[in-house]
């Protein structure tokens, strides 16, 4: 496992091999699985990610709460009509980030990268790159490996949990992973990948986790859109040769420190931020499940908590 981005980059440079190969070699050594098996499993994960994107783009099914649904499809149609000025790459990123998050919000199957609440970002960037840069799945799996190396460093040095470190720990980490993957896919050097990570995460520091009604819906879905765009822009800065003066590892460390200092109301408790706005509270009240709220000692039985209709996938 990698303890630092600097370590990852140094190993790639000293061995003269790309980042993905360094991460793959480490995984083979740590897990005892063969290289082929690791790669095969990553292909399976990629396929699940692709299915989630396709399901999201292809369905208007509502989320568990009814707060979301159909946004990805609507945006994709609007974009295809030529209304977007972002260009096809970013337009696809924005549509695909929403797609996975909509599937997630209706309790559909996704791959947590690194978490479910941030699962829109990495597939959005990877599949947009795949389509626009005409990359095959082998290339995208190499992107997954680089992203995984970065995610491991973040878990070791900081956190990827919104309850522990706020949204910066979830979407910030996912965006940093996506940035490094994109840098790799576009032929960037390991050092450029490290700057892509730093450029990405510096822009997401301090982001709180404030889910309306405690649901992974608002603002999680659109925060995935922000994170994905941040990852693409930051990678371009790095590929153009710009360097962020604070090293990636220090940006990761400070993300962890900020997270630890965040008030509990900003760490996935739905008691602060957008969740606590007048409208946020109103929406939360509307989506409240049947049955009693338990406060401290009240015990709610399972049947009281079961809704009439299971949410299901509906796609």
């Amino acid at each position: 496992m990698f303890e630092s981005v600097a370590d990852l980059v140094a190993r790639a440079e000293s061995e003269g091999s790309p980042l993905w190969r360094v991460v793959l070699a480490e995984e083979v050594e740590e897990s005892g699985r063969g290289e082929e098996e690791v790669v095969e499993r990553l292909h399976q994960r990629l396929e699940t990610m692709r299915q989630a994107v396709d399901r999201g783009l292809g369905s208007d099914a509502p989320s568990v709460s009814g707060l979301l649904g159909g946004g990805a499809r609507r945006f994709e149609a609007w974009r295809r009509e030529g209304e977007s000025v972002m260009g096809p790459f970013l337009g696809k990123v924005v549509a695909r980030a929403q797609a996975t998050m909509e599937v997630n919000a209706r309790m559909g199957t996704i791959v947590a990268t690194p978490t479910a609440g941030s699962s829109g970002i990495l597939p959005a960037v990877l599949f947009a790159a795949g389509e626009e840069l005409e990359l095959d799945d082998e290339a995208l799996v190499r992107g997954l490996l680089v992203a995984a190396g970065v995610g491991q460093v973040i878990v070791a040095r900081a956190s990827v949990s919104g309850a522990a470190g706020g949204c910066q720990a979830e979407t910030g980490s996912a965006a940093a992973m996506a940035a490094a993957a994109l840098a790799e896919l576009r032929g960037g050097t390991p050092e450029q990948a490290s700057h892509a990570i730093a450029f990405t995460l510096q822009g997401m520091l301090g982001l709180i986790c404030d889910p309306v009604g405690g649901l992974v819906e608002v603002p999680c879905l659109t925060r995935n859109v922000s994170g994905a765009i941040q990852a693409v822009a930051a990678t371009e800065l790095a590929l153009a040769g710009l360097k962020f003066p604070i090293p990636a590892d220090e940006v990761i460390d400070v993300m962890g420190q900020i997270g630890a200092e965040l008030d509990e109301k900003y760490r996935e408790t739905a008691r602060g931020g957008l969740a606590a706005t007048p409208t946020g509270r109103e929406l939360a009240a509307k989506v409240r499940w049947e049955g009693p709220e338990f406060e401290n000692t009240n015990v709610a039985r399972a049947e009281d908590l079961t809704r009439e209709e299971p949410p299901g996938e509906g796609a």
Binding site: E30, G32, A105, Q152, A164, R301, L305, T306
Partner: protein, 221 residues
Amino acid sequence: MSVFDVIGPQMVGPSSSHTAGALRLGLLARAVLGGTPERATVGLHGSFASTYRGHGTDRAVVAGLLGMAPDDERIPRSLEIARREGVEIAFESVDLGPGAHPNTLRIELEGDGLSTSLVGASVGGGAVRVTEIDGREVELTGRYDTLLVLARDVPGTTAEITRLMAEEGINIAFLEVSREKRGGEATLIVETDHAIPEELIARVQRYEWVRFARRLQKVTD
């Protein structure tokens, strides 16, 4: 840590910590009991207590108690399935103190004449950490196939069990031995690199000083 901890789990949404992680804690509690419980009381602490409904934490824990995997499409219906199978479940909000991770669960189970309790936290991205089993402090991640043994504290117990594992060709990754007091009850937690065969559990169970032996299959990919 594996790349599949970060590129995964493959799971039913919406939250890796509040859904997949909660499910894994349910799976581990089920394994400690040794099967599907007849009765379960699930205490939710911190963020779990505040947001369990929106995250489907209730359904996820129950899915774990029923033995479902994180990507089982029946998870959204698990409460219904539990009721149909006659599993009685109650949820409560608990305060486990300021030291507890914000996503902590306390699961108390009864079944087949046995009862057990487990306290564990979901620490992000679906990873979990079990901190207490039957009131004893433990350190368990579910990343390894694990042998859990409660035994009388007599000389040679650890040596005997590690010898059995060596015979089976099972490599030990981590070994934790603790006890309440001298001559009291000892807890052995053996995390291994290989799957633990059912027969080994039966062999361990045969020692007269063993009160209880369980195999906890790893819950990560």
